[in-house]
Symmetry: C2
Subunit: 275 residues, 2 copies
């Protein structure tokens, strides 16, 4: 009985749950994907959910990818960008192959600054883009100014702030936000406000000029920054779920993710396979 | 029937409720009580609730007042301070005589910086101290460092921040906090976090050095600043209730307040009398 499959499953799942509950998640850096994520090449574009062929992708997902192919300077028109994707001249893979996450139909490319979230209990690291309408909702390329702001202003300021703070405990912030009624997808005001509150003692110690810091402050109080808690949530959940992966016999679902067409799950005992 | 007392009361109460619901409250300044509150003299000490003779005051309230008599330099021992209070050589009155509020057993004196909250709809202004354990909970005089921080660091920084912001809409912040589960007395985390978030774009534009701004940031994230939402709430409620005062025939309660011994109310149609 002790060696039956069901007892092995039970024991494996206990271990998985133990790891999930004991995991922590600290925001330790913000850095461009190409620089910080192992194996993330300049011609790589990653998306949410299970793998999907270019032909089967929904228009929104395609748009996010072609936007970023242009943003990375690999093509100067949407048509040329689509051709590169179609012919496989650029690589398109799921985020999860790179310990990363994003919102559905979001895309990440090498020059995009990503949140670097470390789970100090189990030693693993997760990455998540800072969502913009250009990189997530198939918005028109002209909204690129938002991405420029994230890359050139928000990311450097937050990187310096995180360094000043010596890392930021996201589990505490997310838990506080949830107690304020956030469900961390549509309602995020509590989490974002607590996050901003935790930033204050450190952001003021960075060397950026007043106007730059004020722009970051404005971002968190206006529509573009509304969803920032979502970025924190995605990276943190991945950092806390990943230690439960690859436990032999465990049936715990370690990832649930969509690519705009297919919904996929990964199961602990079954590694990186999508179902 | 239209001229019966009950119809007059009904009409008066409708007007009172209309004023309360239409009121707004903006934090427009932080300034010392003696400088900003009309008639607030250097030897005046105000307390919450209805008037009460020195002899009948509870120990906590007495302690807050003698602490402040010493803080204002009018006495150098608690005994001398108590004697000044006992003999009437200093004036002790309810906050409400000066459009002000504080927590129960709190006390306000001339050099204390108070929040200045304006109701732009009806033109009235309310004032509220920034609570510390020295001025509210009869703590020992040695906790004076907290009050020094509030007076010399927090107040000047917030004053400059409010000026940069052109005033801060507190009704929106309090309403958001309440939707996050705050009841604004024991639970205040949502309100304070949203307030800090609203400060960020403006506090970084002030001319204070990094360490000073960082101290203010720390304050809002640690125990001393925990209750800041309470200060915002008290001043705002008074600013929004005061327009409903002095409406002939109105039976609406416009103030409920305690002095540590007595609980008192004021009723619109009955002016400043306490019951």
């Amino acid at each position: 009985m002790a060696n039956s499959v069901s007892s092995k499953i039970e024991k494996a799942n206990e271990e998985a749950v133990k790891r999930i509950l004991s995991a922590e998640c600290n925001l330790v850096d913000i850095e461009s994907a190409g620089k910080i994520i192992p194996g993330f090449k300049n011609d790589l574009f990653t998306h949410a959910g299970p793998p999907i062929e270019w032909e089967r992708m929904c228009r929104t997902q395609k748009y996010a990818i072609t936007n970023l192919i242009r943003y990375e300077g690999l093509a100067d028109t949407p048509e040329k960008a689509a051709r590169l994707a179609e012919t496989g001249e650029v690589t398109i893979e799921p985020n999860h192959n790179y310990d990363a996450v994003s919102g559905m139909c979001g895309a990440t490319s090498a020059s995009l600054p990503v949140l670097v979230v470390k789970n100090p209990v189990h030693g693993n690291t997760s990455y998540c883009l800072q969502q913009t309408s250009l990189t997530a909702f198939g918005n028109k390329y002209e909204t690129i100014t938002e991405l420029d702001f994230v890359r050139n202003t928000l990311a450097p300021v937050l990187k310096a702030t995180i360094k000043e703070a010596g890392g930021i405990n996201l589990k505490e912030i997310l838990a506080t936000g949830i107690q304020m009624g956030d469900e961390l997808h549509g309602k995020l005001d509590g989490t974002r406000s607590v996050f901003v509150s935790r930033l204050l003692p450190h952001i003021v110690k960075t060397d950026f000029d007043k106007d730059t810091l004020a722009q970051v402050g404005e971002y968190f109080n206006t529509n573009p920054g509304r969803w920032y808690g979502g970025n924190l949530m995605m990276a943190s959940c991945k950092a806390m779920m990943d230690p439960a992966k690859n436990i032999k016999y465990s049936t715990i679902v370690t990832a649930m993710s969509r690519n705009g067409v297919d919904f996929g799950i990964q199961v602990s005992g079954l590694g990186n396979e999508w179902f």
